[in-house]
Symmetry: C2
Subunit: 768 residues, 2 copies
Amino acid sequence: MNQDYIQPNPWSILEDGFDPKHVKSSESLFSLGNGAMGQRANFEEKYSGDTFQGSYIGGIYYPDKTRVGWWKNGYPEYFAKVLNAPSWIGIHVFINEEELDLNTCKEVKNFRRKLQMKEGVLYRSFDATLQNGVQVSVKSTRFLSLANDELGVIHYEITPLNRDVTITLTPYLDSGIENQDTNWDDQFWKTTEVKTDGNQAFLLAHTLKTFFYVNTFMQNKILLDGKVITLNPKSFTTSNYAALSYTKEITAGKTFSIEKMGGYITSLNYEKNELVDVANKLLEKASKKGFNVLKKEQIESWESIWQMSDISIEGDVKAQQGIRFNIFQLNQTYLGKDSRLNIGPKGFTGEKYGGSTYWDTEAYCIPFYLATKHQQVARNLLIYRYNQLGKAIENAAKLGFTNGAALYPMVTMNGEESHNEWEITFEEIHRNGAIAYAIYNYVRYTGDYSYIPKYGLEVLIAIARFWQQRATFSNAKNKFVILGVTGPNEYENNVNNNWYTNYIAKWCIAYTTEQIQHIKTNYEEDYVRVMHNAKLSQAELDKWKDFADNLYFPYDENHQVYLQQEGFLDKELIPIKNLDKAHRPINQKWSWDRILRSVYIKQADVLQGFYFFEDHFTKEELERHFDFYEPYTVHESSLSPCVHAIQAAALGRMDQAYAFYLRTSRLDLDDYNNEVEEGCHITSMAGTWMSIVEGFGGMRVKNDMLHFSPQIPEQWKSYTFKINFRNQIIQVLITKDKCTFELYGDGQLTIVLDDSLVTLTPKEKMTV
Amino acid sequence: MNQDYIQPNPWSILEDGFDPKHVKSSESLFSLGNGAMGQRANFEEKYSGDTFQGSYIGGIYYPDKTRVGWWKNGYPEYFAKVLNAPSWIGIHVFINEEELDLNTCKEVKNFRRKLQMKEGVLYRSFDATLQNGVQVSVKSTRFLSLANDELGVIHYEITPLNRDVTITLTPYLDSGIENQDTNWDDQFWKTTEVKTDGNQAFLLAHTLKTFFYVNTFMQNKILLDGKVITLNPKSFTTSNYAALSYTKEITAGKTFSIEKMGGYITSLNYEKNELVDVANKLLEKASKKGFNVLKKEQIESWESIWQMSDISIEGDVKAQQGIRFNIFQLNQTYLGKDSRLNIGPKGFTGEKYGGSTYWDTEAYCIPFYLATKHQQVARNLLIYRYNQLGKAIENAAKLGFTNGAALYPMVTMNGEESHNEWEITFEEIHRNGAIAYAIYNYVRYTGDYSYIPKYGLEVLIAIARFWQQRATFSNAKNKFVILGVTGPNEYENNVNNNWYTNYIAKWCIAYTTEQIQHIKTNYEEDYVRVMHNAKLSQAELDKWKDFADNLYFPYDENHQVYLQQEGFLDKELIPIKNLDKAHRPINQKWSWDRILRSVYIKQADVLQGFYFFEDHFTKEELERHFDFYEPYTVHESSLSPCVHAIQAAALGRMDQAYAFYLRTSRLDLDDYNNEVEEGCHITSMAGTWMSIVEGFGGMRVKNDMLHFSPQIPEQWKSYTFKINFRNQIIQVLITKDKCTFELYGDGQLTIVLDDSLVTLTPKEKMTV
């Protein structure tokens, strides 16, 4: 764990001092994104040391031919990879013909990176002594505009300190990039046009197979001591590279700098023959505004995001930095403007895992977006799955399901399954349940029922059909059973009657059946349309009911707990605390069979069900199950600690809840799993938010009312968060001994605080 | 199924007429081997159509870097591939400068292939009309010498029929070969020397990484109308190719021919600097003998093999051809001279699956070699595993086992695990049991106990240790359990308490413990040596006993059957006969999850246990289990029908036994699984032999005595086989109404015939 190198700070991620060993980790941690595109915090100037270059455009992917050791029938042919996009950030810097490269400098001093989360701006500065003896001071400022999400801006300043020198700045565009994550080292991009024109350049390229057309552009302005100067650039191009070279003699102490604007115009949003024109117009507009105005807009945009989504913690700077980093990265990754996009597990910070969409979105991310954004954002996430229903039905058909049953993919970009491990792809079917649950959760939170008749019901019916078809009848048990699944705990494969899977399957049937009834009564037109298309007969509904009424759930009378799956109690029940630390993490130390036959749980499984369906169980039941399972849980999934934090808090175990909170909130900053180089764990960051709001704050929505049961970790003086509940904003401030609510909106709002009704009035602080 | 294109014939495999669609299948079916090397039946002359070129040398392999979609901890780094070796069989044939190529000829007539199994010689002949109008008649005769297993011989004859022509014959050696089975398209061979000298040529090449050095050589003799002529060849070489070109004007009706000798001298058997000298000496000797003498030796060698191992069937030519083909291929693959070699699943007929050694050897092949060869042959197969014990201990250590526990690999060439599917590699651990069983089987059959104190005990102890460590204790059951395994039925993965696995585990402990006691009493010196090395304490023996005494076996009281694994009865018990044929074979039609949750069984699993341990169960128990499991068994493993044939026969169900026999014996000839192109199913061929000898003949060895319970399929008039039992040969002739035994050897032998004792006297036929 790199627990010391990121400096604690409430609003910034800070790195002081240059250490090549930290470059790849920092490239992940200091990543920038604006919901539409993003990039790792690669240096603008050349870096010949160990680095992981990455620029990404949301929604642009490549179907990479599947690679397996041993093919299994039903595997997908292609894996939609997160695609490294042409890079526009690069600036070669030559000083008296020696290229600036922190890996080869004689000395690097005063190196500092600062990701100012409040502003959404990345700052970097250092003093370097080159091999030729020249000392320079460099400052770089970079951001990806939220106001115009096709645009990024760099201000790169260089000041020779000890001599007059000749400096050449060569900003460039490069589409000769490669994916780190590739199955067959295929080329993913084809560049069709490379052009420079004055201070501008363009690269037109398209992805192979998927034919996404992308115009990668740049425009440069050169300054001396902050004043714009005119320098005619030299132009260099190759088949996938365009550079403009600006050379000037610079007196020691003077600052030579470049403002480089760049970004992408893509065929996701425009006709492919418009891509150059649109970029020209965008650059014209952006130049008129200039760097300072664009930066001011950026700060304002982030201010308005923070206005709504900030969580401020008093008395615990590491906890504060952790939660802000999580909220910042979530907003960098997904802003909900475009229902074709989703929340990739690495966001725009890396390529690992591929695909953009996992059950993480529905199970972990939606609550964050529901509470901190307009409800349209969460609705867009639901519509994303609605739009992919046809593909989910095709996925299910490949596995032998019929009659419109849908199995949503484990990993996808466009609705097609990308993953290819049979125990996951074919068997981790609980994901289907989370997609139904998200519809329920959306309606519960927003009160916007309209989504279901218009879109949701079709999805629910297709999912219900899947569950009923997936079950088989056990004569031995005289019950329906669901055989051969992998639950949320992926450290069990191909088990029978995973309790969580069975529970959510049964719930899906019940919820879908209820919605059909409700829509029949209240949305006749939608009812007729959906039923006509679905051809859902009473006989099929009867089959659903028979399945749901007679589904088997493994339960142990002795421990009075639901069993994670059949046979769970045949394992050696050795608590993880009794396992020698040398064996951990078990996923790095043990072979897969040993993990599988052990009792150890990767992430909440039965407890995930208790989280989703908290009201179905008593607190005693929760406590019993928590106490039974948590001691065997290794939390080797980033998605595990948050659920445990919320449940520990609900059980009044604040020390434990706080420990889980820290683990989830600083997972990447402290690099718990020694893998942040590959990118950040974006989706689990929403779990961090849940740990505070649902965990410590005890926020719930029940019967159309907001509930709170506030608690505070011992280490904190206070914390405050805002939530948007049905278009009213409620700010909650929790201190050691009281709780203050402030309502922004028009009408009053009655909430439930620890079982008491409290009525909030706009602009009146209510302290309890 | 190509059920019609191979002509039924008692002693030959015959193909009449040229059909390019059959080329790859025939390349497999007409393959040649001599135990040390082998080759697919590729044409000598160029063939530009669809073909699968393959030459193989026993014991020479390449560790190909593992390819997986998703890496699991514990996977092997390398897969020992069956390696396509340099080819020595090729002869380019030019007629008036047009190259002879059956794929481009105007017409091909009278095409016939004949694999004369009695002689071990492959004949091919055809008449072709070239595009240039020339008609030629071609005959080729080829064999791989058994007498000298480094040598192969070709006689290739060409006769122009309608014109005088110029013919160029260009025999060549080629090491620029590629594996069809390769993970990364790596080069496997490096050629270091290419040389021609008169009528000879050599290629020196070595495998990359493993550094096996191979001298591939040839020597040619040219004949006109059967008389040797002197023609000075032109020599052509490249970095991995050597050719000699012989040109002559040939009058219509005259026969121009070449005798090409070729083969390999390898560093498996010689120092690498001797390889050329040894080849020279070999060629000198072989030339002196000449083609006719070598062919005569070949026929004699095969005669002596058939003398012992032939099974002759009267009245059923397809059954006769089937069993002879199986016996022939087994002998081509493995002759037991070299304990570094083993019996690959495709032998020398293809590359698929990789590795040379599977549990097939111990479970299916050893009985054949025990009964048809000197006992040293089976002993060599046991020693192969003994020699790899160290690697098996390393394999187990990678999976967390300690203290000298061994897990033999699922697939191997040199003792290291090659396979990389977690559910197989880590979980199909029953293979360990078969290796112990083979020791038991060897001693039971041969009476040669000496193997155990000298070698076997160490293996048995290491295997027993594995089983005891692999089990865990279930408090819920108050029994030891073996969790997370794949049984012989690979259509179940990661199941708990697979009955077969548990049964053989328990048996291994009991057998090992007995042997320790026996050796303690009778082989004191070995006892001291082995115990000293193994450091086996009484405490550990107590643990073994505790495990064996308290191991759980799933059993259903209702059906009174042992359950294949826990939870088996939760499946939908739909007999395979009720499944729509469109769904079969399920491994081609269903996704893996669907196969896993179905009841369908790939190959005998509980019944495999009943086969190994027949005496532990009553006939009623066998019948009950056979009737319970067989209806769900799809026999999609080539290893399944033989066990069922034997058991059906034991139950007196000869019709069913005969159907299973036909399926196993003609699996490749009739291409049941539509995959013979990839090579033949060599190891299951031993199962065919068992179907007759143990199935119909009812041969068993109990208490040091041979038992028979002869039956005969209705379709047959008689059948006869020989077995070598403890250095006495017994010939058994079974007809509809009687059974005749003939003993070859010195003393009398008392056998048990259907529960009666019968004493055989040498050279006296005994008819009962």
